[in-house]
């Protein structure tokens, strides 16, 4: 059974369709790269999956309607870091990571020793245990991104949704980040949905590509993408450049 099933998803912003009739299925331990040009609806798709925007159509999680689920227990989310992180925010890396368990707590929230152990474990997996007491604002871009990824993982989600996670990283940190996500996907069987501009890099790590341009243009493996005559028609010589670079 698919872990995520999206049926005829349409999202409108003030009457204008940002996404139209998107349908796809993801299975456990899939690593899906969501790609497309600026304004193609990549982030909108993610926001719909997280119910951050109203949508038409159906989204099922393990066969159950997403709107009827406490989805936060099943999903780990890494937003675009650069858009919100206040470099002067007074919190240590450990305080940020452990905040990832809030999703699974009832009011009034109380953190137990198990929660702190889970935070230590997540930091250990991402190799940032030595940063636990450092202020978040004093860390490098790559370290901050690992802290936020640890926050997304601390409650052991089945699905990890990453929105342009490498946008602020240098090439070395970017590759290290992709490798970490791939390791989580392979070893922990976490289903990954990763939004990116860069088809070449995503294609290297993802098991499937989902190409959007306000509607679903392509969904399949990178090899299928490169061999697809429809994509040749759609991209022209661009397809060769993408596949050759890969």
């Amino acid at each position: 059974m698919s872990i995520i099933e999206v049926k005829n998803l349409t999202v409108k912003y003030r009457g204008i369709e940002a996404l139209s009739g998107v349908s796809f299925e993801a299975h456990t331990a899939d690593y899906i790269g969501i790609v497309g040009p600026n304004g193609s609806g990549k982030t909108t798709l993610i926001k719909a999956l997280l119910e951050l925007v109203p949508y038409e159509g159906k989204i099922y999680f393990s066969g159950r309607d997403l709107s009827l689920l406490t989805k936060e227990k099943h999903i780990g989310y890494l937003p675009q870091k650069i858009s919100f992180l206040d470099q002067r925010f007074p919190a240590t890396a450990k305080e940020i990571v452990v905040s990832g368990v809030y999703c699974c707590k009832k009011f009034p929230k109380h953190l137990s020793q198990d929660d702190y152990r889970a935070a230590e474990e997540a930091m250990g997996i991402l190799g940032i245990s030595n940063l636990r007491d450092r202020p978040i604002g004093r860390l490098s871009g790559g370290q901050q991104q690992r802290v936020l990824l640890a926050r997304a993982l601390v409650h052991r989600p089945e699905i990890l949704i990453l929105d342009e996670p490498t946008i602020a990283l240098d090439p070395q940190s970017r590759q290290a980040f992709y490798e970490t996500v791939q390791k989580l996907n392979k070893e922990n069987k976490v289903t990954v949905l990763l939004v990116s501009h860069d088809i070449g890099s995503v294609g290297k790590y993802a098991s499937k590509l989902l190409y959007l341009d306000r509607q679903l243009i392509f969904y399949g493996t990178f090899e299928e993408f490169c061999k697809s005559p429809e994509m040749t028609d759609y991209f022209g010589s661009g397809q060769h450049n993408i596949c050759h670079r890969h």
Partner: protein, 274 residues
């Protein structure tokens, strides 16, 4: 001639000084706790905006010959929710929403004062406040509201932390962001109304902003930021009241100046320490 210590001992014997210290300390705690969240969320000027609204609500209270605080608390609470709605729904930026409601408040207050007449002196006394004239009723109100603030922060600490750091992620985590925002902003409106009696409409936002901004210069952990902001705020109020008594200065302004000195000290310490 009495030395400073003797003057402070003498001051402590007066009931109005005792009331001022109790009300001031609880007010300082409430304002500084809320201030940490408001400053970090770029909403610190809401204190200023709501104080301006309370200028109008005090005018309404005086016009109706009612207790100004009793009239102000629900009306300023309502104004705070309007600011929140303008920010959320009408796509008005937070600072612009505050400016919009605050200018309306000031204009309404001035119009009521000029047309009704007869209570301008009472109304304008609220511009600068007077902590030394707080009544027992106002002391109790301040204690109750400040304890409510502390209770809300204890109960919603993790939610407030998550929303302050990253509101979108907090929503995705299942935190009731809108409800917590409403609680935060309503408590701010209540504390502001009580604060205008202590430091006045013109200076009440300083009680919210200055302790938080000072502590943010030197502290790197979230819990410590809240705790130390509370300590800075209380010490500023106590020193401010005694300094104003000894030096014969206006108390509200002196409290703000002591807060400002703390800020300068924290700023320099933060720079030296790196």
């Amino acid at each position: 001639m009495m030395n400073v210590f003797q003057q402070i001992q003498e001051a402590l014997q007066y009931a109005f000084i005792q009331r001022a210290i109790i009300a001031g300390c609880f007010m300082a705690l409430g304002c500084s706790f809320l201030g940490v969240f408001l400053v970090l969320r770029r909403f610190s000027l809401i204190g200023d905006g709501l104080a301006h609204v309370s200028f109008a609500t005090v005018a309404i209270g005086l016009l109706l010959r009612a207790q100004p605080m009793v009239v102000s608390i629900p009306l300023v609470g309502l104004a705070s929710l309007v600011i929140l709605k303008l920010n959320e729904k009408a796509r008005v930026y937070g600072d612009a929403a505050i400016g919009l409601v605050s200018s309306f408040g000031i204009a309404l207050g001035v119009i009521i004062a000029s047309t009704a007449g007869g209570f301008n002196v009472d109304l304008f006394s609220y511009l600068f406040g007077n902590i030394l004239s707080v009544s027992s009723f106002e002391v109790w109100m301040t204690v109750v509201i400040s304890l409510l603030v502390a209770l809300a922060i204890v109960l919603f600490f993790h939610d407030l932390f998550a929303i302050t750091f990253d509101e979108e992620y907090a929503y995705v985590s299942g935190i009731k962001v809108k409800m917590v925002n409403k609680i935060l902003i309503l408590l701010t409106s209540f504390i502001v109304v009580l604060g205008i009696k202590i430091v006045g409409t013109m200076l009440v936002s300083s009680l919210i902003i200055l302790p938080a901004v000072s502590v943010l210069q030197i502290v790197k952990s979230f819990r410590a930021t809240i705790a130390i902001a509370g300590v800075f705020a209380v010490v500023s109020v106590v020193i401010g009241i005694f300094a104003s008594y000894v030096l014969n200065l206006p108390s509200g302004a002196t409290i703000v100046m002591i807060n400002f000195i703390f800020f300068i000290a924290a700023f320099l310490y933060g720079r030296i320490k790196g």
